[in-house]
């Protein structure tokens, strides 16, 4: 009798979790307020050792798989989790959800050590960081980077 009750309880918990999760995922997939397509640019200071990056190279830098370029330590810069641009960047370049990206970095740091990406609140802060710190690169909207001195565009990502 007790065993039967326990099995029912476990089954009920299991079904509840699946239903809750299904609802959560469905809610996440609902179209949110439509934003017009925007253009994101990957920027770095003028002394950055490369002038162009591919998406694969960029991904390897943001996942810590590539740490040095031409003998210079690279410092990727992220924007805060609540920023739309970060969500778009993770979807297009890293191809991970927010939670998976955090999981990845938690585990990677724990396993290998190293540096996780720097965190900045706004595009303005990202621009200032890449301008001032050797080896730093980050992502901002094209409008934010236009006419900014002391930076160069390494990659342009359209229709985000």
């Amino acid at each position: 009798m007790r065993r039967h009750a326990l099995q029912s309880f476990v089954l009920a918990v299991l079904l509840s979790v699946i239903l809750l999760e299904t609802g959560r995922v469905a809610a996440q997939n609902q179209p949110t307020t439509q934003n017009p397509p925007q253009t994101m640019v990957i920027i770095a200071g003028t002394s950055f050792p490369k002038d162009r990056l591919t998406i694969q190279e960029l991904k390897a830098l943001y996942l810590g798989e590539t740490q040095l370029l031409q003998d210079l330590r690279i410092h990727p810069v992220d924007q805060r989790e609540n920023q739309l641009i970060r969500k778009r960047f993770l979807e297009r370049v890293v191809q991970m959800t927010r939670d998976r990206y955090i999981d990845y970095w938690n585990l990677r740091l724990f396993r290998y050590g190293g540096f996780s990406p720097l965190l900045r609140n706004t595009g303005r802060e990202v621009i200032e960081t890449v301008r001032e710190q050797d080896g730093a690169l980050g992502y901002v909207w094209l409008e934010e980077a236009r006419n900014e001195p002391g930076i160069k565009i390494l990659l342009t990502l359209d229709n985000l």
Binding site: R100, N106, L109
Partner: protein
């Protein structure tokens, strides 16, 4: 191990506060802990409290990395844990200084997790990261009754070489060999009992497709002296040991990561006592673990573990190890990336000794 002192927390707090206003490249600090409830049907003669059901605070893991410059960094993992009597202890589980020559070559010195298998170098001491509540039993830490040398003090070369369509990770480690002191493996934190350093090596291949797949082989070679409980301890045996193995993992973190997760490791342990000439003993241990991400946060999982020890193997005899089979069934639900609830049932068969069930639930978290 040392008894926990209040001054430890004062020192830690001082360290954290002193770092609080550092610029962007300050230290990375993470803490991990868990609360676990376990009840079992084990024979009270083996574990008198097993049938009572007990709550336990798990390992309180304090993890810090501090870059000293762009290539030099320090990593430490300090664990506070409690024994059955409720006494708390501090263990310095990892302490390493590392120099990055290139992405393909990094040199470390200090105390590490031995580069045998996937689990031992992936999950370390935090309960948050693995899907399951516990490590495979044969990979338990030395001071928790483990039967394999999972820690090494010495030097370590490691690197990653990405050459499409594969990425290769490798490691080469040399350090103090372990010893057995009164039935317990001792990794030799401050001294080695002989001139033969233990050597470990691994190589893992990760193809681009399918993403998340890795295949590795590894080996560990060392000489393990066995000491009794007398004072001073007497050396009563010595084993030349070779551990050879392979591991496989598949964990796709990309694109929402719904689907299969697979981990498997196989160890073949060859022990020989060169002094007695009793020949070579061959034992093995393996596990296969599979989980399925129905959603990003929800994973039911299953693991089977087996240990087979050749009779009279002097190494395992000294450790009191025996054949065992273990099934683990469980569920994990991640509340967010820093917190997970887990529940599992284990069917444990200690061959010739006892067969019992364990029921466990855990709340693991990081901060």
């Amino acid at each position: 191990m040392r008894l926990l002192r209040p001054s430890f927390f004062f020192t830690l707090l001082t360290l954290l506060l002193s770092q609080a206003d550092r610029p962007a490249r300050g230290f990375e600090f993470k803490g991990f802990a868990d609360v676990t409830y376990t009840r079992s049907s084990v024979d009270p003669g083996i574990d008198p409290d097993g049938r009572n059901g007990s709550f336990a605070i798990g390992q309180f893991d304090l993890f810090l990395t501090q870059p000293l410059d762009d290539r030099l960094e320090v990593l430490s993992e300090l664990v506070v844990e409690s024994d059955r009597n409720g006494e708390s202890f501090i263990d310095l589980e990892r302490l390493q200084i590392s120099y990055l020559f290139s992405d393909a070559l990094q040199l470390h010195a200090g105390r590490f997790h031995n580069i045998i298998g996937y689990w031992n170098t992936a999950y370390h001491h935090a309960a948050l990261f693995p899907a399951t509540i516990e490590r495979p039993a044969f990979l338990e830490f030395e001071d928790d009754g483990g039967i394999l040398p999972v820690h090494v003090v010495g030097v370590w070369l490691s690197g990653e070489v990405a050459t499409a369509p594969i990425e290769i990770e490798y490691g080469l480690m040399a350090g103090n060999g372990p010893r057995i002191d009164n039935d317990v493996l001792n990794p030799g934190n401050v001294s080695d009992t002989n001139k033969n350093k233990a050597v470990s090596a691994n190589i893992t291949v990760k193809p681009s497709h399918p993403a998340g797949l890795g295949l590795g082989i590894f080996g560990h070679f060392g000489q393990v002296p066995i000491f009794d409980a007398s004072s001073p301890p007497m050396e009563i045996g010595q084993v030349d040991q070779s551990i050879l193995g392979a591991d496989l993992f598949y964990q796709n973190l990309q694109d929402g990561a719904i689907g299969l997760e697979l981990l498997a490791e196989y160890y073949r342990i060859l022990d020989e006592d060169p002094k007695t000439g009793t020949g070579r003993f061959t034992s093995s241990a393996y596990y296969v673990q599979s989980g399925y991400h129905f959603t990003e946060r929800f994973i039911p999982y299953l693991r089977y573990e087996q240990v087979r020890i050749e009779a009279s193997d002097p190494y395992f005899t000294a450790l009191g190890a025996a054949n065992s089979n273990r099934w683990v069934y469980g569920l994990r639900y991640s509340l967010n990336p820093d917190s997970a609830l887990k529940a599992e049932v284990r069917i444990v068969d200690q061959v010739g000794l006892d067969r019992y069930n364990e029921y466990a639930a855990q709340w693991a978290f990081g901060f």
